[in-house]
Symmetry: C2
């Protein structure tokens, strides 16, 4: 197995990616080695700091700042891609099992030339440039007809899986839609069949009215702690207008999204002393982009607790924090 | 909300437990406090070390060792239960959302009087006593007709969510069957509908024949790295005889399971320098206990990698290790 491979778990229906560029030997995981791994905080050898192009074979997108000679955001190929567009997209059988080649795209969005920043500390116009970058790459990746789903995500801090300090997010475009996502599609479909309404729009309306779980609201977006939050201080940011596909975001919405994203992450940053977190933009798969029952949203998950055996085995989370208390804490 | 509550996530169909005894304020999660939290290694104040009964209001089960005055395993109520049998089992509505009371049981299995041991270092007869303890409590908890599912699990080390060093496992009995579990039931049902065979039995037969992912095998059990392992050095231990329900385990199987569990965990312990791990016994829900398409197994997940934003958002895992390489490493 020299090329990448995606394997289907016959029992759960879920996929697992095995990427050659990320491969490690089992003995690499011995306790001592694990303790040595940490976030690369140093600016000295940071691959994302350079103002020149030489470190990257290809810059996929560059958005300029106010000073026209400086870049503000940059998109490059991930040096250790989980999926690779050089692979041939195809399915194979290995005895009773099914596999796929590791076809896809894996890009890095360098969010700022400044090593020390993070979204909570960038200006709104700088964050707008990041959203603009997401949007342009999203549309570009969807031009590849093999791609069914584009996942935009950010890992902040070691506990959230980040290995570099320099502010960046990642984009993975895949030709499979995982069972995890199809289950959510099916839940939304069932709700729509019963009520002829988008479940996300109904949640939004209910939350705006109830107020107790709302953190922030502007003309076009709401930021709130979901009713059944899995993690302490989990935040969902949702556009008020029904919109299944992140690709449909308007210019006005980009500004409003940048504003509420900055403010939401600032609340975490200042009130919880810069916690590790992940965020992901949950958006419809290609074939669901026009659906009346789906709605894109940004899900922010601070990594404040450790899921243990019960969570892994049951899929039920135990959240030690109450969503209404978290919302009040982040709101005030 | 003074009593416990389980909330349904309308979007994913999953449940989240909010238990009063585990409640923390959001400000408790500030970075400094987080760094202070660690495993209680000290024997001095260990609640599980005492040879006397006074620390626990009620000992639910005690298995004696060879020296008749000493206990070998003990089961007590969890001091910070996720679910509680004093609650009234009932469902409620909060606006558009559904909740349940936090009805259930949450017990701790103290696996040995010796603070310093772990399963990898206990004797086979001591581990047999642990399996016997699991089995007796499993059957006892199933006598409560409100209980639909019993989850037996173990958290080893801080990275796996353990807060106490003293060797112990936990049992949670719940009146809900999570969507996560029902999806696996449905996958197995679909396979059975097509092939009239248990998918787990087919996997077992294939793996025994292929050998490349098998770590250990005895007369009644196989220990192997699953074809689509989500984590490096993930291990499944499965009874060879078709058996949906852990409650059906025989005396002979208990010995064979204890033997292969010890040896599998010893391989992790010695070859990976005592890594953090979780294990869980995946067994059929009450109403599926006799089904021809389900099969119980013990799933061991070393915590060697950190799932990040992509995994959280897509449900797709990225495993840097190859199952066949892991199996060879653990086998030899």
């Amino acid at each position: 197995m020299e090329t990448g491979q995606i394997r289907l778990n016959k029992v759960t229906g879920e996929w697992v990616i095995y990427a050659p560029s990320r491969r490690r030997r089992p003995q690499d995981f011995q306790q001592n080695d694990r303790n040595n791994s940490s976030v690369n905080h140093s600016q000295k050898n940071c691959p994302f700091c350079s103002q020149k192009n030489e470190k990257f074979e290809k810059i996929l997108l560059e958005i300029k700042g106010c000073q026209q000679d400086l870049w503000q955001t940059r998109v490059v190929e991930n040096k250790f891609p989980a999926l690779n567009f050089h692979e041939n997209p195809q399915r194979n059988f290995e005895g009773i099992y099914m596999t796929m080649s590791g076809y896809g795209h894996h890009e890095v969005v360098i969010e700022s030339p400044d090593h020390q920043q993070t979204i909570a500390t960038l200006s709104i116009s700088e964050i707008e440039a990041i959203i603009e970058t997401y949007h342009q790459r999203y549309l570009k990746l969807m031009e590849d007809k093999e791609i069914m789903m584009v996942i935009i995500f950010r890992n902040h801090g070691k506990g959230a899986g980040a290995s570099l300090r320099h502010p960046h997010s990642q984009i993975i475009a895949s030709s499979i839609v995982p069972s995890h996502r199809r289950i959510q599609e099916a839940e939304a479909q069932r709700y729509f069949d019963h009520w002829a309404r988008c479940v996300y729009c109904d949640i939004l309306k209910f939350e705006i009215n109830e107020k107790v779980r709302v953190i922030l609201e502007n003309k076009l977006f709401v930021s709130f702690v979901p009713f059944a939050a899995e993690f302490p201080c989990e935040i969902w940011i949702m556009p008020k207008q029904h919109q299944a596909d992140f690709g449909s975001i308007t210019a006005e919405e980009k500004t409003a999204f940048a504003t509420i994203l900055k403010e939401s992450l600032s609340r975490l940053y200042y009130k919880l002393n810069n916690p590790d977190y992940n965020y992901v933009i949950n958006t419809a798969a290609r074939y669901k982009a026009e659906e009346p029952q789906l709605h894109w949203y940004c899900q922010i998950r601070p990594r404040l607790t450790t899921p243990a055996g019960f969570e892994l085995g049951s899929g039920i989370s135990i959240n030690p924090s109450i969503p209404e208390v978290d919302a009040a804490f982040l709101r005030d």
